[in-house]
């Protein structure tokens, strides 16, 4: 890259304009990224508090802290907020927004106004969700299955409208990123040189654009059904509740790839940087993202193996489900191979990267149990499923998100954080997570159904154990939260390239120039070419 920062007086995006308005009206993707970061972190905390309420209630059988209705609302809000307000926008909105243009050598995303708009649309959606909480909350589960969702007395409409609006935010981000990646690459940055983070975001955005509208129309129909007894999903008027499930999962299975692909994308960058080595099998890893995105559209039926589909459909969906395991496997194998003959340092971002490898592998492999037809009959809607998806979503995406935050924090804020606190926080999260959710695999395979407020005596020990884990997990996140806040308050000044990475985004100043680069960079090597990089580029400055 051509720009090399000279320390000192270069303007940076945080300080070149000041005042609340300069943030609220900003078109700078970096500032929008930070606003997203604040918003999704807040959502994660709220969703996490609901999770703690759920675990507290389940610590003992019978009523512990709340009655059944309050419990049902808690897990619904936990799931809905975590999915729609946190995990889907988290990495694209915060890290993607910030680093995609930097990695492309662009001045901004293709449509900066749209970008800001998508953030505000997100906020409006969030307000609807909060409004629904105030007006009595929802108790449908995050899946909104009919006919329960059309017959319950809870405030479903404001929630579904909220999610509908959040969907548009997600679509706008997707449109923006795909366009940006196609048209805004710096000279010399051809497709084979794209950082794998960009490839991952690209695949994610394609899914966002093509899958989310189906969720939108589903929720619209559901809202109308509730408001005007439309009857499309209601057998009383000749409708079909199973059709709703098809519609819902047609979005929500691809959506799990909207969640995991960005996590994988971050992990690529972390593993390359801390092994000081190019990602093994670059093109295979890049293409595995794209094939996950595409095949991911064809497997939605695996959520409905016992819901009343024909045997023929279940067969097709099961077969395709096994096919999506292949590209994930390709990634895992290539990451492991990248470590081989690398030069590995275990700074805190790398710990999160390795945790991703460890936990996602467990989560993914347990997906194979669920994809196997007869085994899923036993495991469906038990805690085994709950454990599976927390391993992929928390063990995967959240690890990737928090890891990426550690990795890029110095670039984003210009401050370092306390490495000791980071390691302690990591230890709590890693241990707490496994205690919480490994236990739940056993609970589930022993037959404990999910979405249960109360449970039989024989499940008591494992539930208690899981709740203790959640407490440890909560403490871990609390430490990390405090650590980042302290870094803002009194963190050491961050150098330009603290990890000695050759990634393009590190070439600019810290914090970055308002226009990212003083002059448009010209790319002359791949994003992980440690052997081609100059000493100056590699220096941990």
């Amino acid at each position: 890259m051509s720009t090399v920062a000279t320390a000192g007086e270069t303007p940076n995006y945080l300080t070149h304009e000041r005042g609340v308005k300069s943030w609220l009206y900003t078109l700078d993707h970096k500032r929008i990224g930070l606003m997203y970061l604040a918003a999704v972190t807040l959502s994660f905390l709220v969703g996490g508090i609901f999770a703690l309420l759920v675990r507290l209630e389940l610590a003992f059988p019978g009523e512990t802290i709340m009655g059944p209705d309050a419990y049902n609302k808690s897990f619904t809000l936990h799931g809905a907020m975590m999915v729609f307000l946190f995990i889907i926008p988290a990495i694209p909105g915060a890290l993607g927004n910030f680093f995609l243009p930097l990695m492309l050598g662009a001045k901004d995303v293709a449509f900066p106004r749209l970008n800001l708009m998508s953030f505000y649309v997100y906020c409006v959606g969030a307000v609807f969700l909060v409004y629904s909480i105030i007006t009595g909350a929802v108790d449908t589960g995050w899946t909104f299955y009919t006919p329960y969702s059309t017959s319950t007395s809870a405030s479903v409409i404001s929630t579904t409208l909220g999610v509908f609006i959040l969907g548009f935010s997600s679509i706008l981000t997707g449109v923006n990123f795909v366009t940006t990646i196609h048209t805004m690459r710096a000279p010399g940055l051809h497709w084979r040189r794209l950082p794998l983070f960009v490839w991952g975001q690209y695949a994610t955005s394609v899914v966002q654009v093509l899958a989310t509208p189906v969720l939108a129309v589903t929720l619209l129909l559901l809202t109308m059904e509730r408001a005007f007894s439309l009857g499309i999903f209601d057998p009383k008027f000749g409708g079909d509740p199973v059709l709703f499930q098809h519609f819902f999962w047609f979005y929500s299975h691809p959506a799990v790839y909207i969640m995991i692909l960005p996590g994988m994308a971050v992990v690529n960058e972390i593993i390359a940087t801390f092994s000081r080595r190019a990602i093994f099998g670059y093109m295979f890893v890049a293409m595995s993202s794209v094939s996950l995105a595409l095949v991911g559209f064809l497997v939605w039926g695996h959520h409905m193996f016992v819901a009343g589909m024909s045997e023929y459909s279940t067969m097709v969906f099961s077969a395709l489900t096994f096919l999506v395991a292949i590209p994930s496997g390709v990634k895992v194998f290539n990451w492991t191979a990248t470590l081989y003959k690398g030069s590995i340092s275990l700074d805190s971002p790398m710990l999160w990267g390795l945790a991703f490898l460890f936990l996602f592998t467990i989560g993914g492999l347990t997906g194979l149990f669920l994809g196997t037809l007869n085994v899923d009959v036993h495991l469906h809607d038990t805690y085994f499923v709950v454990a599976h998806f927390h391993y992929v979503m928390v063990g995967g995406t959240v690890m990737g998100f928090v890891g990426g935050l550690h990795y890029w924090w110095p670039k984003m804020t210009g401050k370092m954080y306390n490495e000791v606190a980071a390691r302690i926080g990591f230890a709590f999260v890693f241990i707490g997570f496994n205690v919480t959710f490994l236990t739940q695999f056993v609970l589930g395979s022993q037959g404990m159904p999910r979405r249960y407020w109360d449970y039989l005596e024989r499940f008591r020990p494992l539930h208690g154990f899981s709740s203790i884990g959640a407490l440890i997990l909560g403490i871990g996140f609390f430490i990390l939260f405090g650590m980042f806040i302290m870094s803002l308050v009194n963190g050491k000044k961050a150098p330009r390239n603290p990890w000695g990475s050759v990634g393009f985004e590190w070439a600019t100043t810290t914090p970055p120039h308002p226009h990212n680069f003083e002059t448009t960079p010209v790319i002359r090597r791949g994003p992980y070419d440690y052997h081609l990089a100059t000493a100056e580029e590699l220096a941990k400055t």
Partner: protein, 230 residues
């Protein structure tokens, strides 16, 4: 098109063009980005409507008799009229783009106005159709209560309520798109009147026309599905 852009760039260099946003290097880049963005948006729209089409097809398979009976309740003459109106408006939208490319501001404005007028005609016809359905009690789901004398058929097979649910959802959402279309067309009309578009910069006109074609295209599918085949 792209020729005119690159020629333009040689003349002016890339600074100081009023319409070139700062984060783009060249007008071509800006144009490509806008166009691609619009196509992605349209893809998104198609998938949105595909949900409604799937609902239509599923119920059609389940309730063939109801579908046959109910499709006769729709007025194919009004449907045809509306189809022609929309087709014509697509033509005027194309003509608007062409005049914009040629830098004929006046003509561009007029074509846009004609397009908007067509959109209004479409809505008016739609209004009369809806009004008739309301009178006849041909309403979705729970509200489905045919009024004898106002309907063509006297017996409605099971599933008829679902037909009108699909009918109102599909045409309603489409109608909403027409209304939004009127809004953006009018906005483009104003920008054109202010002289924002030139031979070298007419991207917004092009994009709005693309959107309008999509609205048209969806109707081209809705029309035979709902009105014609039984």
């Amino acid at each position: 098109m792209s020729n005119s852009h690159s020629a333009n760039e040689e003349l002016h260099g890339h600074h100081g063009l009023p319409y070139l946003a700062h984060h783009f290097e060249t007008p071509i880049q800006q144009f490509d980005a806008a166009k691609l963005g619009m196509w992605l948006f349209l893809a998104q729209e198609l998938l949105f409507f595909s949900g409604l089409f799937v609902a239509y097809l599923v119920f059609r398979m389940w309730y063939p008799e109801a579908w046959s009976v109910c499709s006769h309740e729709l007025d194919w003459k009004m449907g045809t009229a509306n189809t022609l109106v929309l087709l014509f408006s697509s033509l005027t939208a194309v003509l608007a783009v062409r005049s914009a490319q040629l830098g004929e501001r006046k003509a561009t404005g007029n074509y846009i106005l004609v397009t908007i007028a067509c959109a209004f005609i479409f809505l008016v016809v739609k209004y009369f159709e809806y009004q008739h359905k309301f009178h006849a009690g041909l309403l979705p789901g729970h509200y489905f209560a045919p009024v004898a004398g106002h309907t063509i058929s006297s017996v409605f097979p099971p599933g008829s309520a679902a037909y009108f649910s699909v009918y109102f959802m599909a045409t309603g959402v489409h109608g909403l798109h027409v209304i939004i279309g009127i809004g953006v067309l009018f906005w483009i009309y104003l920008r054109n009147a202010k002289g924002e578009f030139t031979k070298d910069f007419w991207t917004p006109v092009d994009l709005v026309a693309l959107y309008w074609h999509l609205v048209d295209l969806i109707w081209i599918y809705l029309f035979p599905f709902l009105y014609l085949i039984d």
